[in-house]
């Protein structure tokens, strides 16, 4: 029961966005995708979530081809947080998070509890009745995070659940970055498979069980952060000379540029 890409290629208007990419997102583990800008990270997420059909290859989701799942069942198991949100209507935070309950039929009362809990988890309960359009960038992103958390709040009987995050921490201050990583780890320990695109290599090293490094539409390396993050690879992929040390407290790789 995984979310897996098998030999995915994606050609779009004459460009090779992805070439022969294979990777797996395991339930109960955090997979981080890193790579330079334009390396194909977001394209891979689009293919993994079914937004784009690959030119070649196949995405298998809980033992079935992704597009064979009925849309509503799929939505009960797979939640996606985009990098940017288009929402420009004055919903309150409660209403935005409530949208995450659309695929479920748990009733208004249970949904209200879940909405309140999800907002509390992302430190946004004070935003409950405020208008989304009047929030700061970080507040908006926390509310959207709460929305996708609410979508997979309860386990699903049809299969393992997965959460896809595209740069979830880009608008966050240090405290909320830490909070997001804690939430992600918490979800993984509950059995959810998390896959996220991040830019901060140290953050990825600290949080991920599995690290996928992208370069030019191909997978340059994948494995545990300890295996993958070498001075040579970072020079080869990002073109930056760095020193890799060990974090004094966690003993995870620490990249010093």
């Amino acid at each position: 029961m995984t979310l897996a890409a098998h030999n995915i290629s994606l050609h779009l208007s004459g460009f090779d966005l992805l070439r022969n990419v294979s990777m797996q997102v395991q339930p109960g583990a955090v997979t981080a995708i890193v790579g330079p800008n334009g390396a194909g990270k977001s394209s891979l997420l689009r293919v993994l979530t079914g937004e784009m059909a690959p030119t070649a290859g196949e995405v298998i989701f809980n033992q079935r081809p992704l597009n064979d799942w009925p849309v509503q069942l799929k939505a009960q198991m797979l939640a996606v947080l985009p990098q940017h949100s288009l929402l420009n209507f004055p919903f309150t935070a409660n209403e935005v998070v409530g949208l995450g309950r659309i695929p479920h039929q748990t009733g208004t009362n249970r949904d209200a509890e879940i909405i309140a809990d999800a907002l509390k988890l992302v430190d946004a309960q004070y935003l409950q009745r405020r208008f989304y359009t009047q929030m700061s960038g970080g507040e908006k992103q926390r509310v959207q995070l709460a929305r996708v958390l609410a979508q997979i709040w309860l386990p699903c009987e049809h299969g393992e659940q997965f959460l896809v995050l595209d740069e979830p921490t880009s608008a966050f201050d240090l405290a909320h970055q830490q909070l997001t990583l804690d939430i992600v780890r918490q979800l993984a320990s509950r059995g959810v498979g998390v896959v996220m695109v991040v830019h901060d290599l140290n953050l990825a090293a600290r949080c991920a069980d599995n690290l996928v490094v992208f370069n030019g539409g191909e997978v340059a390396a994948q494995g545990s952060p300890e295996q993958v993050l070498t001075e040579q690879l970072i020079d080869q992929v990002f073109g930056v000379k760095v020193t890799i040390a060990r974090h004094p407290a966690t003993n995870k790789p620490l990249i010093i540029s």
Binding site: V80, P82, L86, I102, R129, R130
Partner: protein, 366 residues
Amino acid sequence: MPTTRESWRAKEWTSSLRRIRSPWLLAILALLLPAVALFSMTVGTVSISFVDAWHAMAVSLSADSQAVTSQTQVILFDIRLPRVLLAMFVGSVLASTGAVMQGLFRNPLADPSLIGVSGGASVGASLVIVFATGLFGSSVVESGVLMGLSLVAAGAFLGGFVATILVYRLATSGIGTSVTTMLLAGIAIGALAGALNSLLSYFADNDMLRQISLWQMGNLSAASWSKVFIMALVSLILLLRFPADSAALNALLLGESEARHLGIDVQQVKRRLIVLTALGVGVSVALAGMVGFVGLVIPHVVRLLIGPDHRWLIPCSALAGAILLVIADSLARVVVLPAELPTGILTALLGAPFFIVLLLQQRREV
């Protein structure tokens, strides 16, 4: 330190609560509509007091109604009641489809006419006025042909339908319907329709020209019971169907791929809502001409009061649209006594300043 942070946060959210709770607004509007409709029954060239109106209605409901057909009764039941009902149904259809289109296009300034239906309808109506009048003479064109509907109405409906199909086709490709392309295609088809209309007006004689421009102003004075029944049926279909797609519209406000990730079949929802809107607006325009601003202003104002949740926005807009059109039509009957103004002029006259005030307010908030 944490206590001051909390109190600051608490103060902030209380200041931005919405003005009215949705069930309250729905209840207020539902009470207001019959009151406004009753009032509208008493207004017109012949003013009839509430007591007389009530009396006449009570008499006609009792068994021996055939015996007493007073002038009052004729005015009330053959002229005013169908007119008030037609205004209610047209208003509710225009406002609710406006709410739907604003949600679908994720644009609070969208309008049901955006999908080309109004432009196409006006070309259809002008075509019939110019060519059919030339061929058969004006009596055939105006008198009933199809189920008590004029040829002009049929032409308008067909024109609206054809234009909507064109816009939809232009915006639909292998990967689905793009609302952005649809918006642009709607503008293009609208411009084309405007040009065709001008061309037809150029070739029309004075009589036709007056007919065309009167039709474009929107007019409820030709209301009849057959029109009321058709409009009531359409209004009923729309208002029964829309609630099933309210949650989908809410999700669509997040964006199309987000809605898909929430388990919504976006393409199907889009197609269904566009067909329903084309039907509703097409029939409204065919029966009452171009009544502007209801579909744009009403959903916008309702959203300011209760927020963008379509489960409440659509029914509240329908009621508010009905109320606005009944009031506008009542005014149209009395502002230039003993003559009447076309209703469309009144909705624009009432709607436009209101809308400008809203825009100014919004500018201040941003």
